[in-house]
Structure formats: structure tokens, C-alpha cells
């Protein structure tokens, strides 16, 4: 695997793939794979343009985020860009730095993508997802819990990455909940790279001055665009004290599984403003009915990473 040269890059001006949508973008999005699906119209257009400082009838979710009851949103990141989720088909970006800066994509593929997923009636879970033996396995947890690290480490054991940080789940699919693949890239902190024996030289930092790095996975073979059935969710809990030195994996009963997943809905406050609480809670029940949910307590220092990865594989296979 080459960490730097992403083998999957779009031809200039070509449409791109994201979560099953055909994306047409003014902004260069080197993380995304080219669209190789049908000749439909673009599902989503991302364009560079001016954004009003105040959306009509907006309410402030935070000093950075305005949302409207019409499911529009405006995110403003000082010194980086403003983003306007104008409809479920259109995002406008107003960069305040070079348009190809990775910082701009950090928020586009973070909060803005999460809100778009809500806008489109799907479920964004704060999780990374990998394909293990044809099964979708989500690794969920708060920022810093280690989901990207585990996902990246699992890809190094030959499993395909499905998504990083935001796991887009469609519970309305005919055969049960599926995860829609996003793009073949994970964000990793420097200590995680070191735990996997990788250096950070040549990687692109995702925000200027932060020691978090993009790791792009080369080769289309590592990434599949078809949705994958969600069969297991691991809820991460970092454990600062090494109690036993061993990672502990515990299957959760339904109520604890529902509560655990409900805590990991991405951008839940905005979803509530948009009246989605009821449908999201129902969707969680569908996920828990179809997938095993585990609580995974791990050591924070990534020691014994290999045994933890094997443990995850064993639980998924059983």
C-alpha cells in the first residue's frame, strides 16, 4: 500500500462517487473515486460561490452553524470556508483559503456531509466502517476513541474500507440495513500512524498545524462502491487505566445497544430540529435487530493492536 499516491483519483472535471450519489463538483475532491455508475443526472452538485451571511428564518445551533426548518444549513469556519447546504442536491462552498486546501474538505466531509445525510433521510452514525468477509462492520465512538485507527489497521489486514468517521446507513434497504460506501481515506493522528509502523512523511495534514494526517488508500481494489449489509457495530470506549491489559469485547443486550447507538448519531441536535428524532430512533431498532452490537474497551496506547484486530475478526466471523 502506498500511503501517499492515491491510485483512485478523478479525471479532471469527471463526476465522482459518494455514498451512492453521483457528485459534480467545482471543488477538487481527490478523496473521492470516479463515478462509474449509470448515466443519471448528478445527485449532488458542489459549487464554489457566494453565501449569504444569514439564511432566512435561520436558528443558531452554535456560533458556527445556522439551520432552517427547510433543512438548509450554513456552516462557517473562520479562515477556512463557509458552507451552504442549500438543498439535498446542492452544496455551495465559499473558500477563505486556497480551494484545494485539505482543511476545506475536512469540514465538507464532516459536518456538511453529516447534515446532507440527514437531509436525504438516511442515518449518519459517528463511526468508521470496514468490510470483513462480506459483512459491514462499524466501529463507533467519540472523536479520539480510535475508530479510524482500528479501521485503518483492519484494512492493512486485507479488509476493505467502507467509510471513515461518518458511516452512512440506509435502514430502508430491502434486505435490512446497509452501509453506503463513502471514499477510501481515513484520518489518523500521528501516534496512530506510529502504532501501525507508518511514518507521517509525505502525508497531507488535514488542518494546518494539526498533527492529524490523511491516509489515502491506493488501488480501486481496496474500495467497493456497492452497499454492504451492516452486521456488527463495535462501540469504542477508551480505557485510560490498563486494568487487565486486555481489550474487552462484550455483546450488548438490545436496550443497551439502542442506547449506545443513539448516543452516536452524528449531528443529532440539528436532526432533532429537522424533526428526525422519531424516525432515527426507529432506524436504530432496525439496526439492532439486524446487527450484533458490542462494547469494546481498549487500552489507549494501542499496544496489543494485533490481538485486538484478531478478536474483532473472530467476533464478526462467529
Amino acid at each position: 500500500m502506498s500511503a501517499e499516491s492515491g491510485g483512485v483519483t478523478a479525471s479532471p472535471g469527471g463526476d465522482l462517487f459518494l455514498c451512492g450519489w453521483r457528485v459534480r463538483s467545482d471543488l477538487a475532491l481527490p478523496e473521492l473515486t470516479p463515478w462509474i455508475g449509470d448515466d443519471r443526472e448528478a445527485d449532488l452538485t458542489i459549487r464554489i460561490g457566494a453565501i449569504p451571511s444569514r439564511l432566512d428564518d435561520a436558528r443558531d445551533v452554535s456560533p458556527l452553524l445556522q439551520v432552517t426548518s427547510q433543512k438548509q444549513a450554513r456552516l462557517s469556519i473562520d479562515g477556512v470556508a463557509s458552507y451552504w447546504l442549500r438543498s439535498s442536491h446542492e452544496i455551495v462552498v465559499d473558500p477563505q483559503m486556497a480551494a484545494d486546501s485539505p482543511d476545506i474538505r475536512t469540514f465538507l466531509f464532516g459536518t456538511v456531509l453529516g447534515l446532507l445525510v440527514h437531509c436525504r433521510g438516511l442515518m449518519p452514525l459517528h463511526a468508521s466502517c470496514i468490510r470483513i468477509g462480506g459483512k459491514g462492520v462499524a466501529i463507533s465512538g467519540m472523536s479520539g476513541a480510535g475508530k479510524s485507527t482500528l479501521a485503518a489497521a483492519l484494512t492493512r489486514r486485507g479488509h476493505a474500507l467502507v467509510s471513515d468517521d461518518i458511516c452512512v446507513i440506509d435502514t430502508g434497504a430491502a434486505g435490512g440495513p446497509v452501509v453506503r460506501p463513502a471514499f477510501p481515506r481515513v484520518k489518523l493522528w500521528q501516534d496512530s500512524l506510529e502504532a501501525m509502523g507508518l511514518g507521517s512523511d509525505g502525508l497531507e495534514a488535514n488542518r494546518f498545524g494539526q498533527r492529524k494526517y490523511y491516509l489515502r488508500f491506493a488501488g480501486a481494489a481496496d474500495f467497493h462502491t456497492e452497499p454492504v449489509s451492516l452486521k456488527a457495530v463495535f462501540l469504542l470506549r477508551a480505557q485510560n487505566v490498563a486494568l487487565s491489559g486486555q481489550a474487552e469485547i462484550q455483546k450488548l443486550p438490545p436496550m443497551a445497544a439502542v442506547a449506545g447507538l443513539n448516543d452516536q448519531i452524528y449531528r443529532k441536535r440539528t436532526a432533532a430540529i429537522w424533526g428526525r428524532e422519531g424516525e432515527l430512533f426507529q432506524a436504530i431498532g432496525q439496526i439492532v435487530s439486524a446487527a450484533d452490537v458490542y462494547r469494546l474497551s481498549r487500552r489507549t496506547d494501542f499496544s496489543e493492536l494485533d490481538s485486538l484486530l484478531r478478536c474483532i475478526e473472530d467476533h464478526v466471523a462467529s
Partner: protein
Amino acid sequence: MPSTLSLTDTVSRAQKHLATEVDGNFILMSIEGGVYCGLDEIGSDIWRRLARPLTVEALCQAMAANYRGDREQITADVLELLVSLRDQRLIHVG
């Protein structure tokens, strides 16, 4: 708020709650309290019947007609569940 319910009280699902089904059993959450409540098979049956307002007596009758057991015991069990749901603000009484 009285601690018990009367057979003549009318009960129905509260306005503000979240509900989901896992393998046919309901898991509820009151939006105000933020507390989860898991129902077993019989509790889930009762929850389905609470979709429309009905008296406690009618609910107990329906349960006695569908489950084997002592009528008084069924009534006591239904009342205990309803009081618990009321205290968690998952049902509306009156």
C-alpha cells in the same frame, strides 16, 4: 400525582416519546427524561394496545382474554406496568 391508577382511568401513549422495535419488543425513551425503557413480549403487546386511548379496565380485560393466568394477577401486573410507564412519562393518564 396519585401513586396508583384506577380501573376507570383512560390511558394512552404520551405525546413526547421515542419508540423502536428490536425483534418485536419495544424500547421506549421519554424525550423529557432521557431514560430508556425496554418492554418484554407482554409489555410490547400492551404498548401496541395503547396506540389508542382506552380504559385501564378494558386493557386488563383484553389482556386476560389473550393470556392464561389469574385475572387478578393480570390486573395487578398491568397496573404495575402502567404506573411505571406513567412515572417515566411514557403514557398519558386521563
